[in-house]
Amino acid sequence: MTTINTIQKSPRPVRKPPAVRARGTGSVLAFGLPLAVIGLICLAAPLLPLPDPALQTLGDALQPPVWMDGGNWSHPLGTDHLGRDVLSRIVHGGQLTFVIAIVGMLAGAIPGTLAGLVSGFYRGAADAVISRFVEAQLALPFILLAIAIIASRGRSLAVLILVLALIGWAQYARVVRAETLSLRERPFVLGLRCAGVPTLRILLRHMLPNLAGTVLVLTTLQIGTVILAESALSFLGLGVVSPQISWGAMLADGRDQLSHAWWVAAFPGLAITIVVLLVNLLGDAMRSWLDPKKRRY
């Protein structure tokens, strides 16, 4: 054991042969493909042979799913209290859910990454200020902050995106800062500075590409967080409002019917769980794919 340790600690850096990188591609595809398919189905919702998600047919109200007594194939997952088709609403609601998730994620990722990059690379005063803001942001209970903002500004898509950006940016800033701090100490940065490469170029053409993997993983995982946050807000009546549909908003509707029509709340929640689970699995798979050494549980 001791001898093995000594050998491993020899100064010669052990590099992985290129072939190792291919490992894990399988699991990235295994989680990425279903996610892409779900996303495409939701985006193509208007083209699919589904009933209008807003169409109210009170005579069909609260029909159970097809496999239960009283269910039929015209509403495979049943109907809600206004007779609207649950399946169609899930597929259409997925559109807004995905769009909000991606826009909200980007709205946090871009400023967060830049803040982390500046903070980690320049250090000093910029770092002190940015780090304090990151900590302050992380100290604010997210849903409470969202409530405070939405309560005084009213509900709108723009406010929702702002709120989602606020949960995201601090995470990016923190992770990117840490990565930048270690990256800037790498010898190649010294070499580049010594060769007279301008600082801005080092930042954008050398640091950023080397951070891309980390940011990509974080971005993937963050989509899951954003979907959960959006659904929580919409569930509390602070996010998406009627007539727009998102999965969280559907859940809020379903809560009132829980005792006699479980399917109205169950299926949108299941959709959220499946998508977030896939996103998290994809993020983990990407992490080990990009860097097998950093693989975490």
Binding site: P13, R186, F188, A195, P198, N210
Partner: protein
């Protein structure tokens, strides 16, 4: 000694690092050090880790702090207004061969970037010729660092430095992360480049055997100060300072030829001028 044609002049340099932590006192990393490197000369700086070698190297390269004193490279003072072309006069080779290259940049793209920044200095050689000078073949141009061996990566670093036609190469432990056989090859390459390109080298190392093999002059550093300096052979054969004696005594088993000595022997066997065929790719 070529006093009048000095490439590097370090004049009473001190580097004081501010206190780190709460109880810490300011650390004097380099204490009143003077040294010079003449054209085509290889000057060694030896010392244990913490002796101030790295602070000295960073100050000389214009990347670290200069508290007092003056560093002049080819007649230009190293300091705040260090122009881009003056910067190119001194290039560094560092310890970690893979870490010295951007992991996401191919050799070709890296060279192209340098050519874009120093268009006036880099037209003298094509990429292929440049790689040949460091004993590499052109098929390495499209590789990324992790697709190379340590020796290849270090040769690429040397090529990148060479491209800018520096008058001084600062080699900070250039071989200590390499396998023994590769060490000898890199040392041989440095000696060869000194001969063919007239490169002066400031060679920083803790490995006395290596320093003895390649350096014309040597400076021994202890706690930030140069305690002994002179022509390498003299310092090594008749060490004046107690610390130097201790360092020399600590060199392990000298019965077998060390890589450095192999390099020394091979260097003597290199024909006087003209291009050698590239050293075999590792």
């Amino acid at each position: 000694m070529t006093e009048e044609r000095r490439v590097l002049d370090v004049d009473r340099l001190s580097v004081v690092h501010r206190a780190r932590g709460r109880r810490g006192h300011p650390v004097v990393a380099v204490d009143d050090v003077s040294l010079g490197v003449g054209a085509g000369e290889i000057v060694g700086v030896v010392g244990e880790s913490g002796s101030g070698k790295t602070s000295l190297a960073m100050a000389v390269a214009g990347l670290g702090k200069i508290s007092t004193g003056k560093v002049t490279v080819s007649g230009t003072e190293v300091g705040k207004r260090f122009s881009r072309s003056a910067r190119a006069e001194i290039q560094v080779i560092l310890q970690d061969p893979h870490g010295s290259l951007d992991p996401r940049q191919s050799v070709r793209r890296g060279l192209r970037e340098l050519r874009g920044i120093h268009s006036e200095r880099t037209a003298w050689v094509t990429d292929e010729e440049l790689l040949a000078k460091v004993g590499l073949t052109a098929d390495l141009l499209d590789r990324l660092p992790h697709q190379m061996s340590g020796g290849q990566a270090q040769r690429v670093s040397i090529a990148r430095a060479l491209l800018l036609r520096p008058s001084l190469l600062l080699a900070d432990e250039p071989t200590s992360a390499l396998d023994v056989s590769v060490q000898a090859q890199i040392l041989r390459l440095l000696l060869e480049l000194r001969r063919t390109e007239g490169l002066a080298i400031l060679f920083i190392s803790h490995d006395l055997a290596v320093v003895r093999a390649v350096c014309d002059q040597v400076h021994v550093m202890l706690r930030g100060q140069v305690v002994e300096h002179g022509v390498t052979a003299e310092v090594f054969d008749r060490p004046a300072h107690e610390y130097t004696r201790r360092l020399l005594a600590a060199i392990p088993g000298r019965q077998t030829a060390s890589p450095a000595e192999q390099a020394h022997v091979s260097d003597d066997s290199i024909p006087g001028d003209g291009h050698r065929s590239p050293t075999p790719v590792l």
